[in-house]
Amino acid sequence: MKTLMSHAKNINLVLGLLILLSFLVLMILSFFYTPYDINVMNVANKLKGPSSEHWFGTDEFGRDIFSRIMKGTQTAFFVGTLTVTIGVIFGTLIGGMAGYIGGWVDEVFMRIMDALMAFPGIILALMLVAVFGPGIVNTSIALGIIAIPSIARIARSGFIQHKEFEYVLSAKLIGVKPFKIMFRHILPNVSSPLIVAASVSFGVAMLAEAALSYLGLGVQPPNPSWGRMLKDSQAYLTSSPWYTYAPGISITFMVLGFYMLSNAIRDIMDPRSN
């Protein structure tokens, strides 16, 4: 692996970092300052197009959309990060053990995963949120649990393939402990598809959060969330399209940024790519 500067030609890394850093700056800024108060309504000013006063226009209550997008960055990062973290950690752990140990461990773990997968994701999230109460943390945990099975499947197939490779036999032979073989030897070699799956589930999480918020179970109003804004804006799609553009483009760029960064990380981690 070379120094960070030598990766300056990696377009995925540069663009991905640029996008995510801008969102990060917006998020940090939004803790201290937004151009307008995000919750003050001004009905006389509703559904105004973009102008120098309101960069992204105003919504149906006359609130400044740019301010709400800024504040919504917090929700997006929080939900996405927590969901992906839960999904990747438990998915890799479960899938890795199922694949590497095999036998009844594999059967038990993967049948549980099948049961989770067979359940429509949003219904499961609804159920979990209904039981544990609405709110951003519970929503993220529910979405994280939904993300586990698909990541576990990818991890399992990688571990099954690699556990028969001679480098694993060789590690066994010199007395490396099974847990270390799994996570120090095999995991780095099967991480590429996992990283991509993680970045995809980041986008899925943000959209699912939007759906849950729409149903009143995710982020509670009046706190802004991009997904919620997207849902709210669809009623005014023909009359005020800019209302839709702001959250839509934000979600697109956020997912794109994560996708590019994860691709770049995957390339940098692979010693053969240089």
Binding site: F165, E166, Y167, L169, S170, A171, K172, L173, I174, G175, V176, H185, P188, N189, P271, R272
Partner: protein
């Protein structure tokens, strides 16, 4: 070097792989990859094991190290029975028994640097400090002919022969007395093969190693081995000193194998023995002698009775009814003529 000191004794080793059946018929059968194999290895020698692919050579090597659990039989290493040792104690013995793998591209973790790869066995044992470890790694790299600069490189930056040297250094870092080499040169170019073989022979002298050398290449085995065992369908059909096996093969299968070695001398009238058919399915080996379906000299007894290894003098053992003393005399005499024809 004491010629008569046995380092490893294998008694009636068996490894059967179950064939997974349908839900209605749980056990569909088994593949007898290693079927009742017995031999021993003396300290400091090289025992070559030859056989066609699917004859169970690699499984034999892996079963001896218990990388796959044996179905039955004994593995006695320096007086200790390994086949029943719990895993925790097995590691103490694996220090003395290492393996060099066939594919130098698959046997080195592509995400680890050479220094890590060679030093890993030392790190696992936790007997040296980090500085001592680095020193030992550099020393080992020198022994196998790799430059010091290789330490921080990744395996993919090396050629096949160099990678195999890394694999050898990795095996050596455990200070083993016994190394199983599973087709160590079959993935390499011919020009590199001899370099690696000679390195292995030099190291054998320096560290007083004992090798079990598995290969399908008869000329490679001839180059490195002191004794040679021939495997067919999970069984050893003939085993003995290299000279005896190569100059006076007794088993019809060995004779056929040796006759297939290409010779550069066009004047020599060496008749090639053509074996008919394919090797039988190891999940359903023939009754009696496993070779009788393809053996040009087979007779009635071969179909009924499985021959055991019997000494034919000078440490050469063969599992063939043709050489059994109590065989029917008329058949024996008629077959003797055929043997002479074959050995021509």
């Amino acid at each position: 070097m004491n010629e008569n000191e046995k380092l490893l004794t294998i008694n009636n080793l068996k490894k059967y792989f179950p064939i997974k059946g349908t839900p209605f018929k749980k056990k569909a059968g088994q593949v007898k990859a290693v079927d009742d194999v017995s031999f021993h290895i003396f300290k400091g020698e090289t025992l070559g094991i030859v056989g066609e692919s699917g004859s169970g050579k690699s499984t034999l090597g892996r079963t001896i190290l218990r990388l796959t659990e044996p179905t039955d039989g004994e593995i006695i290493f320096e007086g200790t029975n390994l086949e029943k040792l719990p895993m925790s104690k097995l590691f103490d013995y694996r220090k003395h028994m290492q393996m060099i793998f066939q594919d130098p591209f698959a046997s080195l973790n592509p995400r680890m640097r050479v220094g890590q790869l060679v030093g890993e066995p030392l790190a696992v044992q936790k007997i040296l400090t980090k500085a001592e470890r680095t020193e030992k790694v550099i020393d080992l790299m020198g022994k196998v002919g790799l430059p010091k600069e290789a330490l921080t490189k990744f395996p993919h930056e090396f050629s096949g022969g160099q990678r195999q040297r890394i694999g050898i250094a990795r095996a050596l870092s455990m200070n083993p007395s016994f190394i199983i080499a599973d087709e160590p040169v079959s993935a390499l170019d011919v020009s590199v093969q001899s370099q690696v073989l000679n390195l292995m022979m030099d190291l054998q002298e320096e560290f007083n190693l004992t090798y079990l050398f598995i290969s399908h290449d008869l000329s490679v085995v001839k180059h490195i081995s002191d004794r040679v065992g021939v495997m067919y369908l999970g069984r050893i059909v003939e085993i003995g000193p290299k000279k005896a096996i190569y100059s006076n093969p007794l088993h019809p299968y060995t004779q056929a194998l040796l006759s297939a070695i290409p010779v550069a001398n066009f004047d020599s009238k060496k008749e090639k023995i053509q074996l008919k058919g394919e090797p039988p399915n190891p999940s359903n080996p023939p009754e009696g002698c496993a070779f009788h379906t393809r053996c040009p000299l087979a007779y009635e007894r071969c179909k009924l009775e499985r021959p055991g290894l019997a000494e034919q003098g000078d440490g050469q053992y063969v599992a063939c009814h043709l050489y059994a003393g109590n065989a029917n005399e008329s058949i024996e005499s008629s077959n003797d003529e055929k043997v002479l024809v074959l050995q021509n």
